[in-house]
């Protein structure tokens, strides 16, 4: 894709932010509620009191398993579904009840939904033709847009003559040509093969930066969410589980659901044994105790059941002499070599589930641990994160 140095829109927003302090949200969803009745007569809560705001020029990802409400939320914003309760504001305007065709948002659909009876150029020009934009202007903007997405010269092609990746770009151009306030993307990369997906992820991110438009991106792929987003909103069972920058979600998930959904995790059941002014003590079932600094907002009291989260890459092959942390040993069950790392699955008596560890494939590991070999692992206390609640919750 061709990039220009600065876009006027991004510059205007930067000026706006400088003059008026922190930018006001371009999209604000407040206390969104949405229920569906299944054909069997059951009621499903698709959105349960979800509040999210999107800043100008932000790349926000809605992440969650299928059926978590993320697509519903997108459809509520685009106007294809109505909320049962709650408000939606775009640029501070309440858009509840406004039909889809009168909302300043555009969507890139999962299946692209390109018009098969129109050429590539006519597809991209569609919104401009509807808005009765002058023909010369339309032509100029269409070719500009096609060039931006790397499809210059493809205007006269028919949709069925394009590859999946090219169709993806047409869908993007078609949605962006009308200069929406917000671009909504509904799992747009899920139909592409892995290498193309990686390329499109980077291009999308660059395009968003270039155009200065807020992107709301829906995906169930947590890796994709972490890679692309400024912030990620994790949805589960219709509820907003956590919203924050990718590293925050990954390092300090607010609950077990987020911990499990974002990245790979080891969860150790523990009991709060002592609560100090600055630290909490946690005791595992096997008697190991670890002291962790208290974080803001943590309200543990002695006797609480918690989960201690440790990421596989936090595992160390052997503890240093003076470090505090958790120590585990057990037989290696499976070994996966992934180039930079060995991924190990280790059976331990302490944890209910096998331990996952990821060790750098450096020289000291040689050909790697062998299955069946006993191994000792250590997770430093600084990498542990306590989570309230049981595993199942």
């Amino acid at each position: 894709m061709k990039m220009e140095a600065t876009s006027p829109m991004a510059a205007a927003q930067a000026r706006d932010a400088a003059e008026n302090g922190p930018a006001r949200p371009v999209l604000e969803i407040r206390h969104a509620m949405k229920r569906f009745a299944t054909p069997e007569g059951q009621e499903v809560v698709a959105l349960d009191d979800v509040s999210i705001s999107v800043a100008p020029n932000e790349f926000l990802t809605l992440l969650g398993p299928s059926g978590c409400g993320k697509t519903t939320l997108l459809r509520v914003v685009s106007g294809f579904e109505d909320l049962d309760a709650g408000d939606i504001f775009i640029d501070r305007q309440d858009i509840a009840g406004r039909p889809a065709y009168r909302r300043p948002v555009n969507t890139v659909f999962q299946t692209y939904a390109l018009f098969p009876h129109l050429s590539v150029a006519r597809n991209v020009a569609y919104s401009l033709e509807i808005a009765k934009v002058e023909q010369a202007e339309t032509r100029r903007r269409v070719s500009e847009m096609l060039e931006l997405v790397g499809l210059a010269g493809f205007g006269e092609r028919r949709i069925n003559q394009l590859s999946g990746g090219q169709q993806q770009r047409v869908a993007l151009a078609r949605a962006l040509v009308a200069r929406p306030k917000i671009l909504l993307l509904d799992e747009p990369l899920s139909a592409l093969d892995k290498s193309l997906r990686g390329k499109m992820q980077q291009e999308l991110k660059a395009l968003q930066h270039e155009l200065g438009i807020s992107f709301v991106f829906v995906t169930h792929d947590q890796e994709e969410a972490l890679t692309m987003s400024d912030r990620v909103a994790v949805l589960g069972q219709g509820k907003l589980q956590q919203i924050g920058p990718p590293h925050e979600l990954y390092r300090t998930p607010s609950n077990v659901f987020v911990a499990r959904f974002v990245g790979e995790s080891n969860l150790f059941a523990a009991t709060v044994s002592e609560v100090g002014p600055a630290h909490c003590h946690f005791r595992l079932a096997d008697g190991q105790e670890v002291r962790l600094p208290r974080r803001d907002g943590q309200t543990f009291s002695a006797g609480d059941k918690v989960q201690l989260l440790a990421r596989p890459e936090d595992a160390r092959p052997s503890p240093p002499d003076n470090g505090t942390g958790l120590r585990f040993s057990g037989p290696v069950r499976e070994v996966f070599f992934v180039g930079t790392h060995y991924k190990l699955v280790i059976g331990t008596s302490e944890a209910d589930e096998p331990l996952k560890a990821s060790l750098p494939a450096g020289e000291d590991l040689g050909a790697g641990p062998a299955p069946g070999q006993m191994i000792e692992l250590w997770f430093p206390a600084s990498r542990l994160h306590p989570l309230a609640g049981e595993v199942g919750s």
Partner: protein
């Protein structure tokens, strides 16, 4: 294959007989329409276009027995009525059938499957029941039987045919396309004009042509609700038959056959061209 050679040959014979069974009568009619023998059609008496000349009002051999179409004017009147009825009834049915098909496919409302089944009903209803029902309806409401009653009567069942053909086409169309159109700023009418209609047009044209042919062809229902001076072609031919099978009928049948094939081919051609 060789082992089943005998069976295979038997199947070929079966296939031949099957198609002969279906098409032989039609082929015979076409052949007879060119047979010069005015008395016994089964005996070939040389090629002639006399029957065609007769029905077009240019009797070539004015013999007593062949002056069968007493009035070409009457025949023309019947053809004109048929075309008029078919044109109006199929046009009206196409508009309504398409609208209903879109409504059933796209909108959410209660008792939807009930309404869908309701749309199929006129197709399975025996023609004779429909004919009698319409006749009683028109008579009891005091409507004078005319070409207009035929048009109304035909619409009652042609809408079903259009509905079914268009519904099949809409089922193939991705609903997301209409959402995409709305998303890009098009209101319902613009979406219909620019996306839905172009994509279902082959189905709409196909349904319309089917309705046209069925309307042209209908005898039973029309027979009940046709007024004295609103005879359609099938009713006219039926009337001719009651006075004996004459060679001119073969010529009329052949022309109708060619006409139907042309209309159907036009439909298929339009359909193929859009893909």
């Amino acid at each position: 294959m060789k082992r089943y050679g005998g069976l295979s040959r038997l199947l070929s014979v079966y296939g031949f007989l099957f198609f002969a069974f279906i098409y032989a009568p039609i082929v015979l009619i076409v052949v007879f329409s060119f047979n010069a023998n005015p008395v016994n059609m089964m005996i070939w008496d040389g090629f002639t276009l006399d029957w065609y000349r007769t029905i077009f009002g240019f009797p070539a051999r004015l013999t007593e027995s062949t002056l069968y179409v007493e009035s070409t004017r009457q025949l023309y009147g019947a053809v004109r009525n048929s075309l008029l009825v078919a044109l109006v009834a199929s046009s009206v049915s196409t508009v309504f059938g398409t609208a209903i098909a879109i409504a059933v496919a796209r909108f959410r409302f209660r008792l939807k499957s009930f309404y869908r089944a309701f749309m199929f009903m006129p197709m399975i209803m025996p023609d004779i029941v429909l004919g009698i029902a319409l006749l009683i309806f028109f008579v009891s409401t005091g409507v004078k039987l005319s070409v207009y009653t035929i048009m109304i009567g035909h619409c009652t069942f042609l809408i079903s045919y259009v509905f079914i053909v268009v519904s099949a086409r809409i089922a193939d169309m991705d609903e997301k396309l209409e959402e995409a159109s709305a998303d890009l700023g098009a209101n319902s009418w613009q979406t219909f004009r620019r996306v839905t209609l172009p994509l279902i047009l082959p189905g709409v044209i196909g349904g319309g042509l089917l309705a046209f042919i069925i309307s042209m062809d209908d005898l039973v229902i029309t027979y009940f609700i046709a007024g004295v001076d609103s005879t359609t072609l099938p009713v006219f031919i039926y009337g001719m038959l009651r006075r004996g099978i004459k060679p001119e009928i073969n010529a009329i049948a052949t022309i109708m056959l060619v006409f139907s094939i042309v209309v159907a081919s036009a439909g298929l051609y339009l359909r193929a061209r859009r893909k």
